[in-house]
Each structure stands twice: as structure tokens, then as C-alpha cells.
Amino acid sequence: MANLVWKSFKGIPLYVTLIWIAVFSLLLHFLDKSVLSFLGILSSIVLLYFTNTSNKIKLAIGALVLIVIIPLVAGENRYYMEVASQVGIYVAMALGLNIVVGFAGLLDLGYVAFFAAGAYAYAIFSTSQANEFIAGNLFPLTGDWFWPFLIVGLIVAAIFGILLGLPVLRVKGDYLAIVTLGFGEIIRIVFNNLDKPINITNGPQGITPIPAPELFGLKMGTPFYFYFIVLFVIAFIVLANIRFEHSRLGRAWIAVREDELAAQSMGISLLNTKLAAFATGASFAGVVGVIFAAKQTFIDPTSFTLMESIGILVMVILGGSGSIPGVILGAAFVTLLQVQLLKEFSNFLHSLQQSGIINLPNQLDPSKFQRLVFGIMLIFVALYRPNGLIPAKRKTNDLGAIKSSPFSSGKLGILSKLSQSSSTKQS
């Protein structure tokens, strides 16, 4: 019965979504501190995804909400913009990991290493740190260099991905997970210890002050600007994800995930295909790393622990491995839970404690239960939505378009022999 109702459900009517957006943006505008209305406006993106209307309209409304409405009603509030850009950073990373785990099916537990590679690439060369090992007192660089370093971070991380992938991708499945976990930790420990004999990463002290991005003399150091930078990068990564998913390479990734033997007998080189997935996923993490370094102005190896890798993996699996909207939702949900919901709940309990209503021991502080909450969430997802919140589904091809394609006039591939043999018969 429930199934029947679900099937007849075509989507949320457009007006409901529009009212939702209007109500929450007004609420946020008038009640400046309302966390709920901020969450409401963010969740309107999810609502929009399930709205019953054409993709073009969805895209237009989504862009309007993200580019105009959110900065307009929440832009003056540093905290909201900070949360929104943090959500964006994790969304971008999760989308990168989605290529490795979701598409190619390579369980990578050391993903944060590539994030670290991008972050350190910008941190080292944008501060005076690089003077330690490059003669000539050329550094620090100005914030203008942030933009080319987005590309540098991408390339550095991609190279890291290939170098790590070459030895690691010889093993499969659980073994791959363990080996990548090891490599992820190795990279972090190397960064932690690379302050001697030559001081490259400044070791556990970390690197600071990393300059904020600058464009034509405009300093873009506030969360307001980072929000837009992150949004731009996400747009790029989502576009890349969509294009890869339905391409020669994306099909090869999924084929390798589904059945390695069959993929090989279709002429797909396992190593090249897996390396491409590793490098592509890594390069996205690298770009995000550069942004992260610039946003934090300070980085040290403790930002790149195994827990980060696991957190991103949770986002991918929770949202729906291989599903682009799912991964975005998963990343947003987990990040908000971490940075906002648990923290707000903690603050709420603290305020109760201060007014003497309850007596809460410090150990029971909800913000300390992040891992427990992750665990419980994953158990529930595994039980009730084993393919994630929004499961991946393959695009159905428009058969009419195929039939009317100009290429349909003749037989292609091996079938071209067919027309030859029939035409010789006729003559």
C-alpha cells in the first residue's frame, strides 16, 4: 500500500517549494539568529530536487537560492556563511570521493591525503615557509596567487593520486581499504615530520598566515567570499561528475566496479581505468585543499586525520554511493550535523545546565558523540536504505533520439558487415 502511494507520487508541487523558500528566507531575514530557518533554506535545495517540474526550472531556482537569496538574507551573518562554505567544502570533497568509491568501486580510506597535498601546496608557497628550502627570498606570495594555485593544487593532488595509485591499485576490495588507510596516515605523518632536515612543512607547528584570495586588489578573506568561491568550485565538480558519469570513462569505471573480469574482456585496461579514477578524485580534493588552506589561514597535520577520511566516506555511503544528488545531500547532512546540530544541542543543554534545570556531566556533551552518531546513522541506513538516501540510478536513454540520429542510417561496427553481405546478395 505504501508502495502504491510512493509510485503515484510525482514530486512536490512547485508552489509548495516556492512558498517554502519564501517563508524561510523571510524568517531568516527577520530572525537573524534562527538556526532552524537557516536549515530550512538549505533544505529547500533538497525539496527542489524532488519538485515536480522541469530540470531547467529546478536549476534556475536552485541557482537563485544559492547565488542570490542565501547571500542576501544570511550574508551579513558571518557564522551562517562560514557554515555554508564549510558544507560546500565537504560537498566538493565527497563528490571527488564519489568518483573513486561510487563510480569505480575502489574503497579508499586515505582520501584526505590528497586534500592535504592541495592544502600544503598552497600553504607552503604562499607563506614565507618556502624560503626555508628555496633560495632568493621570493616568498610569501600575494593572495592573487590563490587562483593559479587552484590549478597547481589540482595537478599536485593528481600526481599524488597516480603515485599512490600505482602500487596500491594492485590489491582489491578490503585489502585496498587497508592499504589506502595506511598510505593516508603515512602522508600525514610525513607532513608532520618534514620539518627536518630541511624544513618543508614546518611539522606539527603548522603553517600560518596563509594569505586570503585576492582579486584586483579586493581581499576576499571573509566567509562571504569563500561561500562564492566554494560554490563556483562545486559547480565545476558537479559538472565534471555528470559528464564523467555518462562517458566512455565513466562507463569503464562502473564496469570495473561491477565485474572486473568482464570489463577486461571488453578491452578495458584495469590499471589505467582505476588510475584515472584515483587521479580525478584526488585532483578535486586538491582544489578543495587549496580553498581550505586559504579559508583557515592556518593548517597543520591534525586537520588531515583518518577521521576526516572516514567522515567523507560516511557522507558518500549515507547519501548514496555513485549518486551525485545523494552524495551532495549526504555531505550537507553530515556536515550540518557535525558543525551545527550537535553543537547547538550541546549549547542548548549547557544553557539548561547553567539555569540549573539539569545536571550534565562533561562526558555526556553531545558534541563529543560524533562517532557514535555516525555509527548509528550508518546502521540505520544499512538497514532501511542500503543504497543511500538518494540511490544511484542510471540514466535511461532516449530511444527515439537514437533512432532518429543521423548515424542510424547505416549499420555501424561489426554490423556494417551485414549491409555488405546483403547488398552483394541483391546485386
Binding site: A240, R243, F244, H246, S247, R248, L249, G250, R251, A252, I254, A255, E258, D259, L261, A262, A263, Q264, S265, M266, G267, I268, S269, L270, A276, T280, A392, R394, T396, N397, L399, I402, K403, S405, F407, S408, K411, L412, G413, I414, L415, K417, L418, S421
Partner: protein
């Protein structure tokens, strides 16, 4: 002229000799069957030809060139393709996409081309889609083009696997028990279809099959393996009357009785 030639192939797994000194010549445009009792080493032989196992001894010549030691994907691009005994489709992909995967090595789109969605990449994709659809039509399952491969009934999965193999544009196709699990009517259809493949598409076909009716009716030449060795070869008529083949299948006393 032999298109494919296996010379003295031997494969050992520890103490077990799965194939010993197996030499088989395949004529271009022929239908050849490799038969033998369970565990005779037929699939091991297929796996060596397609590069999944590297032979311990011997050579594999494709059109006179040695292809031993190449990876399975390299062998696939050189024109040898296969289907599997226990169907191996990409279950989550649609039928059409499964066939499109087969065109992989003939497409050229790289990372950047895909990212920038160049005109060449778009055309190539469209062409691959059309080709995949035509192949589905050819094997008669175009009506399920958009269904997930894993959800198809068994018989259609078999056809889809053949369509996918054809998409690699092969010269030689190796069919590992194409009629396994089929009812008599489906088996007859499959026999007709394999014959059509040879005739219309100019393919060289090598098959492993247990259904003797299919083997005897379809193949022009038969090689018989038993305990990893080749014990006989010949036309269906010769094989039918070969005492060592009868012995391998039915045991010693049976051949003595007859």
C-alpha cells in the same frame, strides 16, 4: 589458413595439470567446439586464449602473431572476445550501456575531451549509442534497452552478453556454454542464432558446450579434452564414433560393451 593457433599449451595449478600440451588450430570462419567431461580443462583453455591465465608452456598465435603474455584487455582489442559460463553482465547498468561498454576500446575520448564535452566526444558517444542499439536490435532485445541488465530474465541476459561481446568488433568469439540452463526450444533458437552470427558477421566461433545435440548439429570441427589432454579431434561424425571419446564420457566398460 588458421586464424588462431594454440601450440602445446600447458597450465598447472600447483600439482594439478589443468591443460597439458593442448594444440588446437582454428580455421577462419569456422564453428569449432571444445568438449569434454566436467573438469576436463575447457574453461582453462578459454582463459588462456583470452589472457586471463598465462600458459606455463606453449604459444598462442593470432593471425600468425604470438599473443601469449598479453593482458585480457589487450587481447580483446586484438579481436578475441568471449562470453562467460555464468553470465557476467554489468548488473546495475542498463542493457544499452552494457553494450556501449563493449565499444570502449574503439572510442578515443580522454579526460579533457570528456570534461570539455567537445564536439568529437559528443559525436563519438552518439555513434556508440546508435551502434549499441543496433546490436540490441540484431540480437532481438531492443525493447529492454533501458532496463537494468541484472533485472532481465536469463535468456535475455545470454543474448545481451553476446551483443556486448559483438560490440568489441571481434574476429573471434568464444562462447562458454551459450545454451547452459536453456530449455530445448531456447537451445534451438540459440543454435540458429550462432549459425547466423557466423554467416552474416563473418565470425569465427569457438564454443564450449555440454548439450551434445547442439554441438553435433552446429560445429564443423570438434576438439575433445579429458583430464587436461586433447584426446581427439575431428568432424562431428568422426567424434561420435571415436572410441576414446566414448570412453571418456561413458567409462571403459561401455566402450567394451559396444
Amino acid at each position: 589458413m588458421a586464424i588462431l593457433e594454440a601450440v602445446g599449451l600447458t597450465k598447472r595449478f600447483g600439482g594439478l595439470v589443468a591443460n597439458q600440451d593442448v594444440s588446437i588450430k582454428i580455421e577462419k570462419g569456422s564453428i569449432t567446439a571444445v568438449i569434454g567431461p566436467n573438469g576436463a580443462g575447457k574453461t582453462t583453455f578459454f582463459n588462456m586464449i583470452t589472457g586471463f591465465y598465462e600458459p606455463d608452456e606453449g604459444e598462442i598465435l593470432l593471425g600468425g602473431k604470438n599473443i601469449k603474455g598479453l593482458r585480457p584487455d589487450q587481447i580483446a582489442t586484438r579481436g578475441i572476445t568471449r562470453t562467460f559460463q555464468n553470465i557476467r553482465l554489468f548488473k546495475q547498468m542498463t542493457a544499452l550501456e552494457n553494450v556501449m561498454v563493449g565499444t570502449h576500446s574503439r572510442l578515443s575520448a580522454g579526460l579533457l575531451g570528456i570534461l570539455f564535452h567537445t564536439k568529437r566526444v559528443r559525436e563519438e558517444e552518439e555513434k556508440a549509442r546508435v551502434e549499441a542499439y543496433q546490436l540490441l536490435e540484431y540480437v532481438g532485445i531492443e525493447h529492454i534497452a533501458n532496463e537494468a541488465a541484472g533485472s532481465l530474465p536469463y535468456g535475455l541476459q545470454r543474448r545481451l552478453e553476446i551483443a556486448r561481446a559483438l560490440a568489441t568488433n571481434p574476429q573471434i568469439i568464444l562462447l562458454d556454454e551459450p545454451a547452459a540452463g536453456m530449455n530445448p526450444r531456447e537451445t534451438v533458437e540459440m543454435t540458429e542464432f550462432i549459425r547466423l552470427l557466423k554467416k552474416e558477421l563473418d565470425l569465427t566461433i569457438i564454443l564450449i558446450e555440454h548439450d551434445m545435440k547442439l554441438v553435433m548439429g552446429l560445429s564443423e570441427y570438434i576438439h575433445v579434452l579429458d583430464y587436461g589432454r586433447k584426446i581427439a579431434e575431428g568432424t562431428p561424425e568422426q567424434i561420435r564414433n571415436n572410441p576414446s571419446v566414448i570412453e571418456a564420457y561413458l567409462g571403459k566398460s561401455a566402450s567394451e560393451v559396444s
